[in-house]
């Protein structure tokens, strides 16, 4: 049977690749969150492999055995209404499997949504914002900003604050953990950490138009010492990020990597607190005031642009 062989070969290839002839990025994690997800994935693959094997075994056995060509001419298939007992069995077993996977899912989802376990240190906050088709990384603590590349210290939790200057993007570093959307009117939080130094690739995973394919960035994880040294180097060499410069960076297109002193957060604050359920009146007023200031600023921008 061609079907059978092709499936077996297919399954064989899948299993071979998954179990590590050559590590796939998602299954080769370099941080605690990525490791949790990779474990969940492997658990689900093995559980599902059992299901697939059982179904396939039954399938091939039944199809082979009851082919008309293998039966006598006068065989008349019986009328069978069904069997409550059997039907209960194949309802109950899937329920058990789903229940097991549900437990795994709930535990692991809470785990990857919070600061990684065992990381006591204060998280390093990095604002990662996307614009067509780049990533801007602002380090408020260190007061520097990078474009299209990311340096992080190992063994320290990183709290990414994600938002976008354009379409919905998805911030994803496969080897460190799962992705999350960066959107224009709110800030999402993604907790990651790296425990192995090295270079990892990151990208926007959510389609954002023409330049989407190249909207990637490099992540370098290094020891805290090296990280501090890198910060010091930048402070002494990089130019300061001005508002004009930042507006230039926001123009749609692709850019190489670049580094600046200061962050854009001061003159272009992230869209935080847009999601309060019932904003108090003063709060609303405050937001309104902020908006007015922002509008004024944007008017100014227009003027400056006109001068150019």
């Amino acid at each position: 049977m061609k079907l059978k062989t092709s499936f077996l070969i297919g399954m064989f290839i899948v299993v071979m690749v998954l179990t590590g002839c050559e590590p796939l990025l998602v299954l080769d994690p370099k941080g605690p969150q990525g490791r949790t997800t990779a474990n969940v994935i492997m658990i689900s693959i093995w559980t599902m492999a059992i299901v697939v094997i059982v179904v396939f075994a039954m399938y091939f056995y039944i199809v082979r055995k009851y082919l008309a060509s293998r039966q006598s001419k006068d065989y008349v298939p019986p009328y069978i209404e069904g069997s409550v007992k059997l039907e209960i069995i194949w309802t109950a077993i899937p329920i058990l499997i789903v229940a097991f996977l549900s437990v795994v899912t709930v535990i692991s989802t809470y785990k990857v949504e919070s600061v990684p376990e065992g990381y006591e240190e204060e998280p390093l906050v990095i604002y990662a914002s996307s614009s067509n088709w780049k990533w801007h990384f602002s380090y408020p603590e260190q007061d520097i900003e990078t474009v299209n590349y990311l340096f992080i210290p190992t063994n320290r939790p990183i709290e990414f604050k994600l938002y976008s200057f354009g379409p919905i993007s998805s911030f994803w570093i496969p080897q460190l953990g799962g992705q999350k959307y960066a959107m224009a009117d709110m800030v999402n939080t993604l907790n990651l950490a790296a425990d192995v130094p090295g270079e990892y690739s990151g990208r926007n995973a959510n389609f954002t138009g023409e330049g989407f394919a190249q909207q990637t960035f490099n992540v370098t994880a290094m020891s805290p010492k090296e990280f501090d040294k890198w910060i010091r180097d930048i402070k002494s060499t990089a130019e300061t990020l001005t508002e004009e410069k930042f507006d230039e960076l926001l123009q749609p297109g692709h850019l190489g990597q670049s580094t600046y002193k200061g962050t854009h957060l001061e003159f272009s604050p992230p869209p935080e607190n847009h999601h309060s359920k019932e904003p108090l009146k003063d709060n609303q007023e405050e937001i309104k005031n902020q908006k007015i200031i922002k509008d004024d600023l944007s008017n100014d921008e227009d003027h400056s642009n006109m001068k150019h």
Partner: protein, 198 residues
């Protein structure tokens, strides 16, 4: 056409019974439609941007009048069907006309309401909140408007043909539609206007 005399005329033929059940299914779809609009409304309710919030633009008086007009029209269309089942053409037509006039009155006040909203700075384009407000009210209003045109057609057919299985069926289905619009208005009134003004 076989007409079953044991049932009211509007159920008299097989096709009539199909029409009525089909319309009920359509009402089911309408429930989902307005459900989605309400879901979007509740989601966008605090997203007022630089525009006004509901509490700032809603007024109780027009809403009260609209509610009473529509409730009464729902009552009169019920009476129209009652009269129709008793075989009284004139009464049926009269109640139909009253219903449509009440509907027109409702629409007039709704349009007035819209003008007030716009004067207070809540246009369709102002914010997410005003957009969904206008969409949900507008969808309901458009249903009423379509209903008025539809009602006029039915009245003219009642004039021409009197009470036949065909016209009765149309009138009955129209009444279902009209009552349903009343139900939708009750939810709009309760969960948009009253909730907004509390």
């Amino acid at each position: 056409m076989k007409v079953d005399k044991s049932l009211p005329l509007e159920y008299g033929t097989e096709q009539n019974r199909l029409n009525i059940l089909g319309f009920w299914v359509f009402i089911g779809a309408e429930i989902a439609l307005f459900g989605t609009l309400f879901a979007s409304y509740f989601t966008l309710i605090n997203r007022t941007g630089n525009g006004p919030a509901g509490a700032e633009i809603f007024e109780i008086a027009p809403v009260m009048i609209e509610t009473i007009l529509l409730l009464t029209s729902s009552f009169t269309i019920g009476l129209a069907i009652h009269a129709m089942r008793m075989g009284k053409v004139k009464a049926t037509i009269t109640f139909f006309i009253i219903t449509l006039l009440l509907g027109l009155g409702f629409l007039g006040i709704e349009i007035y309401d819209f003008i007030v909203f716009i004067h207070e700075g809540a246009t369709l384009q102002t914010s997410g909140f005003t957009a969904i407000l206008f969409l949900i009210l507008g969808t309901h209003g458009a249903h009423v408007l379509v209903g008025i045109f539809w009602g006029i057609f039915i009245i003219s057919q009642l004039f021409k043909h009197g009470l036949t299985p065909r016209t009765n069926n149309k009138a009955f289905i129209f009444s279902l539609y009209w009552h349903f619009l009343d139900v939708v208005w009750i939810f709009i009134f309760s969960f948009i206007f009253m909730k907004g003004m509390l």
